[in-house]
């Protein structure tokens, strides 16, 4: 009897709800803590970034058009599906190459799941906390509401591979934004596995798009894209950040980056309704009162 040979997973990008290789046909080796080959991840191209932005743009109206209750249930569903695959995520995180042991990986996975639950509950509450009626000095009804900014580009922090990604993604999509995520360059595999859970969680196709590959190649076309309304550069180094912000300025794109407190990923400070607000526009509507 020979030992059963494992079936290895092909890690693809996630664009418009489909798992695809790069149009460029390229891949790059992803290695574990001991230097062993884990997989060949897709080395995405600028064309892939553009396709992902197009998918995110066309999905945005439909996602924002869902009721807040529905978006909340879908985010909660992500947590449910992740929970059922906890061991798989923990193993993925442990193998990612940042030398974290199994219990740390399990803790990170649990924190990531809990973060989805936390933001799921905000879906139908953040507008109450962030918006409201403004008592203007005149006979007018005046109401401010936060609305999703549109398409958000997220450069995910490099490590750890899962919790920071979820911490930046969940507050972006809960309000009705869609996202193009550049996964961790060193450890992209957990992001792809997350994409598989998103695909099973009623998250509409194109709401989350995940590109893997080289930051230096992928950040510029994302920062430059006129259809990207806001950019989270938490995963950029200082040079990449400065360049991305300079590019973003040309289209008045809002640039956001995780504060030092928010980078304590497991801490309470890493989650906030004001992080939802950072990817929203405040709309204020006036109407006269009269008999």
């Amino acid at each position: 009897m020979t030992e059963r040979l494992a079936v290895n997973k092909t890690y693809k990008q996630f664009i418009g709800g489909a798992f695809e290789r790069s149009e460029s046909g390229r891949s790059y080796p992803v290695v574990g803590a001991g230097g062993e080959l884990l997989a060949h991840a897709v080395q995405g191209s600028r064309k892939d970034v553009r396709d992902a932005v197009a998918a995110a743009r066309s999905a945005q109206g439909g996602w924002a058009g869902r009721t807040a209750y529905n978006r909340g249930q879908i985010l909660y569903r992500v947590a449910e599906v992740m929970e059922s695959r906890r061991d798989e995520f923990a193993a993925e995180v442990a193998r990612a190459g940042d030398g974290c042991d199994h219990s740390a990986a399990a803790a990170e996975t649990a924190a990531a799941i809990d973060r989805w639950v936390w933001y799921a509950g905000w879906a139908d509450k953040f507008a109450t906390v962030l918006g409201g009626v403004n008592p203007v000095a005149g006979p007018y009804f005046n109401l401010s509401v936060p609305e999703p900014v549109g398409v958000v580009g997220i450069v995910a922090p490099d490590e750890p591979p899962l919790l920071p990604l979820v911490s930046r993604l969940a507050p972006v999509i809960v309000s009705g934004n869609t996202a193009v995520v550049l996964a961790s360059e060193r450890g992209p595999l957990a992001a792809v596995t997350l994409a598989e859970t998103l695909a099973l969680s009623d998250v509409l196709a194109g709401v989350v798009n995940i590109i893997t590959g080289r930051r230096d190649e992928l950040v510029p076309p994302l920062a430059d894209h006129a259809a990207v309304d806001s950019l989270d550069i938490s995963g950029c180094d200082s040079q990449q950040s400065a360049n991305a912000a300079r590019q973003a300025a040309a289209t008045i794109t809002r640039v956001v980056s995780a504060s030092a407190a928010e980078q304590q990923w497991a801490a309470e400070a890493a989650q906030s309704p004001y992080l939802i607000d950072a990817f929203c526009e405040t709309k204020t509507v006036w109407h006269p009162k009269g008999r």
């Binding site: 000095a137 007018y140 400065a242 040309a250 004001y274 526009e281 405040t282 709309k283 109407h287």
Partner: protein, 495 residues
């Protein structure tokens, strides 16, 4: 609306009603101008910088009102240092209740000297005295009063977070609402415990300089507010100064791009309030007489030199002729001329450069085939004036339908369905404001949801209030001024 009858007034040759008004000029007696002004740094009005002076002109007459100093990089450096030292030397640690009292004092002093500020604003900027008296100055005082109240209540503003001041704010403001923009910038910055260096626009520095007397009389600690007059180079030196923690800019989208690139990678916080090309959307069931007044207020308020001006009229096809007819008749009664006259509806254009830009865009509208209407009106023989203008037969591709004109020029387009109105309204890179006119409540709410704009006025237009957030989507900028949202640019949220 009934047609004017011969008995209602004297008939002009066109058959239209003509209303003659005696001049009703506001007295300029309350205004005492110096011939030259220095910079306001560290609580002192410095001596004028004699080798670098620039005139500020009354746009209604072309006369020089005074000369102001043009701050260079060294002057800016001194102002930022004064702001830094005031911040570290006490302002950031002052109890909110004490900061509040300074701001309340400023509000009260502005109210007490309101007439003087209003007259000076009109002299320096050209806007009708009716507007500076009834809108700019009262709202400026109201902003200080409103944010004064926040200064000791910041712990209640953001759930689960403490609001910490940011440091030194660099604030660059435009010429269309000079004092009001200074108030919009300074009041929230100071309330949140920051200090500021404010740079007024080159053509309208005088009310900001007069504000220094108010700050002095309020006994505001030295260096909490510093005012550097000057040109674009002054603004660039301020925005790029490494001692600045936060940059707030109101002005053109083009300048916003430059500032965004300048600030990139520095860690400075940035908010931008930029241009607009607002759609004012009229449905067939709207109250058309109210609509007419709303359209006029939307585009001719401050001569259209307003970033949120309702410069694109989208009117439902079935009532387009009726609306344009009413609008033309109303335009015929607008009084253009001396901004100091209390009857004036449209005052002077702020500068020759702005008048040239308006004229150039109006010429492009005619050249591209749109139909121009301007009422017959006599413009003053000096100063910078432009008659109210209305373009029909406008296509979405015309420059006058796409570019911000910043003048009293309205472009009329039509639509058939609500979906088409939404598509046309959002067909612009800007997203500052929008207007909706209909008597149907559900349609108002649906349309308001569809608008890619930070402020939506339904059955009204151009309303402002310190409690109401103001600011744009897309290329109209980011960040809000006014309301609780207006605190956010000036605080760091700490868990």
């Amino acid at each position: 609306m009934t047609e004017p009858s011969a008995s209602g007034g004297k008939l002009a040759p066109t058959g239209e009603l003509s209303l003659d008004y005696a001049p009703a000029p506001e007295s300029i007696a309350p205004v005492r101008l110096a011939s030259q002004y220095g910079l306001f740094v560290g609580g002192e009005m410095l001596e004028p910088v004699r080798e670098r002076l620039a005139p500020t002109v009354n746009p209604a007459t072309g006369e020089v009102l005074a000369e102001v100093s043009v701050a260079d990089a060294a002057d800016v450096d001194r102002a930022v240092a004064a702001a830094r030292s005031a911040w570290e030397g006490g302002w950031r640690d002052l109890p909110g209740a004490e900061r509040a009292k300074y701001l309340y004092r400023v509000a009260r002093l502005l109210q007490e000297r309101a007439r003087e500020f209003a007259v000076l604003e009109t002299m320096d900027g050209g806007k009708p005295i009716r507007e500076s008296r009834d809108v700019d100055v009262p709202l400026a005082a109201a902003h200080f009063f409103y944010y004064a109240g926040w200064a000791d209540k910041l712990d209640y503003a953001f759930s689960g977070r403490r609001a910490a001041p940011v440091g030194v704010a660099a604030q660059v403001i435009p010429w269309n609402f000079p004092l009001l923009m200074a108030a919009w910038k300074l009041a929230p910055a100071l309330a949140c415990g920051n200090t500021a260096v404010l740079k007024p626009a080159p053509t309208t520095p005088l009310t900001a300089l007069l504000l220094t007397e108010v700050l002095r009389d309020a006994e505001l600690p030295a260096g909490v507010v510093n005012i550097v007059t000057g040109d674009d180079a002054t603004g660039a030196a301020l925005v790029s100064h490494p001692g600045v923690d936060k940059v707030a800019f109101t002005g053109s989208t083009e300048a916003g791009r430059v500032i965004g690139a300048e600030v990139a990678g520095t860690g400075k916080r940035l908010t931008l309030e930029l241009g607009g090309k607002a759609a004012n959307i009229v449905f067939e069931d709207a109250a058309l007489d109210q609509v007419t007044e709303g359209i006029v207020n939307g585009i001719y308020f401050n001569g259209g030199q307003v970033c949120c001006a309702g410069s694109r009229l989208l009117v439902q096809e079935s009532v387009a002729d009726a609306v344009v007819g009413k609008l033309r008749r109303r335009m015929d009664t607008l009084r253009v001329g001396d901004p100091l006259d209390k009857n004036t509806d449209i005052g002077a254009i702020n500068s020759q450069a702005q008048l040239d830009r308006i004229a150039e865009l109006v010429a492009s509208g005619v050249a591209e085939g749109a139909e121009l209407y301007s009422p017959p009106c006599e413009l003053p023989d000096r100063g910078f004036f432009h008659p109210p203008a209305l373009f029909t037969n406008v296509s979405t591709a015309h420059r006058i339908a796409r570019e911000e004109i910043f003048g009293p020029v309205l472009s009329v387009l039509t639509f058939r369905t609500a979906a088409e109105a939404v598509a046309k309204a959002n067909n612009t890179p800007y997203g500052l404001s929008a207007g909706i006119w209909t008597e149907k409540g559900s349609r108002i709410l649906w349309m308001a949801d569809q608008m890619q704009a930070g402020v939506v006025w339904a059955n009204t237009f151009n309303r402002f209030d310190p409690a109401s957030p103001f600011g744009g989507y897309r290329e109209s900028g980011y960040g809000r001024e006014g309301g609780r949202s207006g605190l956010l640019p000036y605080v760091g949220l700490v868990a």
